[in-house]
């Protein structure tokens, strides 16, 4: 790697180190850390929120038990899926469709609606070929906001379960949803949109502009320059860890990610909220050391995957060297495995994006993961298989790491023969059963479907050899973890894949969110037990290693055999 690529990584770390603590503090206030319930900007945001509550007939003073909170979330998701499904089915007959897109097929709409509502943003279709401007704007952009906000509401509900004593309620879902959108996501997205436009991301209301190309000897002498209100979607796509862009090439497209400045800002913005939520967690539980150790675990894992991917891609593909290709770094080229990569980002700038996008549940890509070297492609795959806890999607990522922390205290408790506690709450059989459901949900949403796809003849839309298995594994890991990135050679628009991957996304989302809220509901009833000499401290490096170890062992035992037959086997065939 060049020294500039290393400094680029350090710049990213510095930007996050500056931005995360203040945003964490602000979010803690939004979710009610202050005794009087006030938060910055109340004079502006307060009336807006109350207006929304009135329109939606929400009693914002009334709190909910965990099951009502979860039901509200489910009801909201059901309505969102129905709305999006109807929109996609009808888009061909609706207005604001300058590129004349037809309505989407029933199974295709089913898959796409679930995909955007579950914060996955898996796209079996090519955005510019299948989706109308109207659907992008009032369908996908809206879900980019609210699916992210719902994820954040979940973690806030779980944290209230930990912090409140002998209580019944964990907050009001509608209030948390509204406040997240109005006070956190909208302001950040608006600022980021303007920055993106200033760098060349498109934001207009046209369809395609036809250009008469320069070289008259080429076969085609016109070029369609696509338009649309897309910088605004790009901004929330990263901030909300959604990942579904308006264009097929996603953040590799020059109109979504025009230059290296926007590239680092996009990486920054997809990590910003997940990391800030941890900082917020420290403030909400009143012990910032607890947040620091979880942050260290997340960032540590993330950095390992980032450096590994950058190196693997920069080292290039030995098969190309044999073919007479120069992949070395020199003063006149950046080198590396450049298939599927943009020159302005280079192999290193691609690795720097690939790890954060799979460690969060974003799934935006600035280069095509399917064309990675075998080990370079295994890294983002494994990163998803860890359950997306480094640092995970907005809200759900912190939920994941808290679940790992509960499992870690439980295992440690078994070893020393004491009732495990986390942050003053006893962790007992009821909670551990829910933790077990949570942990089993993701492999359950992935492996049966992946296995069936590997055997079914009609599901053979992948490349031959071990790379084909990698494609199946990657794509179901992506849907089960609500990531959305893809090994995109594989055709996934068939009946089989739109159905199974739709189900996989639903299971990956709701079989984790509901148990997490249930844990919050179980913990909220408990008293706080004072820490004694026998209590295991959960802010130490030892505990950090324990959490990381639990995460890696759980994922390792579940997925390593499959990885050996996919990317690892392909690596040895190089």
């Amino acid at each position: 790697m060049s020294w500039q690529a290393i400094v680029q990584g350090l710049v990213l770390i510095a930007m996050l180190a500056v931005a995360v603590p203040p945003l964490g503090k602000y979010m803690a206030a939004v979710y009610g850390v202050r005794a009087d319930g006030s938060a910055p900007g109340d004079r502006f945001f307060g009336p807006v929120e109350r207006f929304i509550y009135r329109l939606c007939r929400i009693d914002h003073k009334r709190e909910q038990r965990w099951n009502v909170y979860a039901l509200s979330l489910v009801a909201f998701s059901v309505m969102s899926v129905l709305f999006l499904y109807a929109l996609l089915r009808l888009q061909g007959s609706l207005f604001f469709n300058p590129t004349d897109r037809q309505s989407v097929s029933p199974m295709g709409s089913f898959n796409a609606a679930i995909s955007f509502v579950t914060n996955t943003n898996w796209q079996w279709f090519s955005g510019e070929a299948a989706i109308s401007h109207l659907s992008q704007m009032i369908g996908f952009t809206v879900q980019n906001f609210v699916s992210a906000a719902a994820g954040m509401a979940v973690v806030v509900g779980l944290i209230r379960g930990i912090t409140r004593k002998r209580s019944r309620t964990i907050g009001n879902f509608w209030v948390d949803l509204t406040r997240t959108v109005v006070r956190i996501l909208l302001p950040l997205a608006l600022v980021f949109t303007v920055v993106l436009i200033s760098q060349g991301a498109v934001q207009n209301l046209h369809g395609n502009t036809t250009a008469t190309t320069i070289d008259k000897t080429t076969q085609v002498t016109t070029q369609a320059i696509p338009g649309g209100p897309f910088a605004s979607q790009e901004a929330i796509k990263e901030l909300g860890t959604n990942g579904g862009g308006p264009y097929n090439a996603n953040s590799a497209h020059p109109f979504e990610n025009p230059n290296p400045v926007t590239n680092i800002l996009e990486i920054f913005s997809l990590l910003l909220i997940p990391l800030s939520l941890v900082s917020m967690f420290g403030r909400l539980v009143g012990d910032r050391r607890q947040a620091r150790i979880l942050l260290a675990v997340m960032v540590g894992i993330l950095m390992v995957f980032t450096v590994f991917t950058m190196l693997a891609e920069q080292n290039g593909n030995p098969k190309l060297t044999t073919a007479g290709v120069d992949q070395s770094i020199s003063t006149t080229q950046s080198g590396g495995n450049m298939e599927g990569k943009e020159l302005r980002f280079g192999a290193a700038g691609c690795g720097l994006f690939a790890a954060p996008t799979t460690g969060t549940s974003t799934g935006a890509v600035n280069c095509m993961h399917d064309s990675f070297t075998p080990l370079g492609g295994m890294a983002p795959m494994m990163h998803m298989m860890l359950g997306e806890i480094s640092p995970g999607g907005v809200g759900v990522g912190l939920v994941g790491v808290l679940i790992m922390a509960l499992l870690a205290v439980f295992i440690a408790g078994l070893m020393v023969g004491r009732t495990p506690e986390y942050l003053g709450k006893k962790i007992q059989a009821a909670e551990m059963k829910l933790v077990a459901i949570y942990i089993l949900a993701m492999p359950f949403a992935m492996k049966p479907f992946a296995a069936a796809s590997a055997v079914l003849k009609s599901a053979n839309t992948y490349q031959s050899g071990p790379h084909g298995l990698s494609e199946i594994l990657y794509n179901f890991a992506s849907t089960a973890n609500n990531n959305g990135s893809a090994f995109a050679y594989q055709g996934t628009g068939t009946q089989w894949y739109t159905t199974t991957q739709g189900l996989s996304m639903l299971m990956g989302r709701f079989l984790t969110i509901i148990p997490a809220l249930a844990i919050g509901g179980a913990l909220v009833r408990k008293p706080k037990v004072p820490a004694t000499v026998g209590t295991m401290p959960t802010h130490t490096a030892l505990f950090g290693f324990l959490v990381a170890g639990v995460a890696i062992i759980v994922a390792g035992l579940t997925f390593f055999p499959a990885l050996a037959l996919g990317p690892i086997l392909e690596h040895f065939s190089l």
Binding site: T209, G349, S371
Partner: protein, 194 residues
């Protein structure tokens, strides 16, 4: 079930209201700001020649004639199709992929008068992620310079100077990788001839 049904009314209303806020007000406000403050960029950084739109600064296009610098291979439609952005997504050991790289290496050497064992810059024989990459590496541009100069009857030094002019360095010294914008460079070459 009754509890769920009771939540459906706020759910329905919330979807509608938040659609108005996030799906109508937010993108339209963004468009207004973008169009007022950065009109050309918000419209796609279009380049006009004699009043005709000939492309976008940010979107590469096909060039095959010898007097133009050639862009990277493209998997977008038939090549640089702005309405079908895409990478090849071929895997690193796929025989079709390896074969097309070998073919491109041979073609590149023949086109630019290179020796049979000359190493070819990687960007010249691999397709980009978007299929619309407007840039090529400096190494790639240098190897194409003699051919372009010869086809245009220009001094190599003149073309080299233009290549340097349209080389975008790293942003803020460390961000991204340097590259030569093929669209802008070829337009400048045409302007030189006119």
């Amino acid at each position: 079930m009754r509890a769920l049904i009771r939540q459906l009314r706020p759910a329905f209303l919330a979807v509608l209201v938040l659609t108005l806020v996030c799906g109508v007000a937010y993108p339209l406000l963004s468009t207004l700001i973008g169009q007022v403050a950065f009109h050309n960029k918000a419209d796609g950084s279009l380049i006009k020649r004699d009043g005709v739109v000939v492309g976008s600064k940010l979107i590469g296009q096909s060039f095959t004639a010898p007097q133009y610098f050639h862009p990277r291979p493209s998997a977008a439609g038939a090549g640089y199709d702005g309405s079908a952005s895409s990478g090849s997504n071929l895997g690193p050991t796929n025989p079709d992929f390896l074969k097309s790289v070998s073919d491109r290496v041979a073609a590149y050497r023949a086109e630019n008068g290179l020796g049979a064992d000359a190493l070819v810059p990687v960007d010249a024989v691999t397709a980009s992620g978007s299929g619309l990459d407007p840039n090529i590496a400096v190494a790639n541009a240098r190897l194409q310079t003699p051919r372009v100069a010869k086809a245009r009857g220009l001094d190599v030094a003149v073309v080299t100077k233009l290549v340097d002019k349209y080389t975008d360095g790293r942003k803020l010294w460390v961000l991204g990788e340097p590259g030569v914008n093929v669209v802008e460079l070829n337009l400048a070459l045409d302007k030189l001839a006119a």
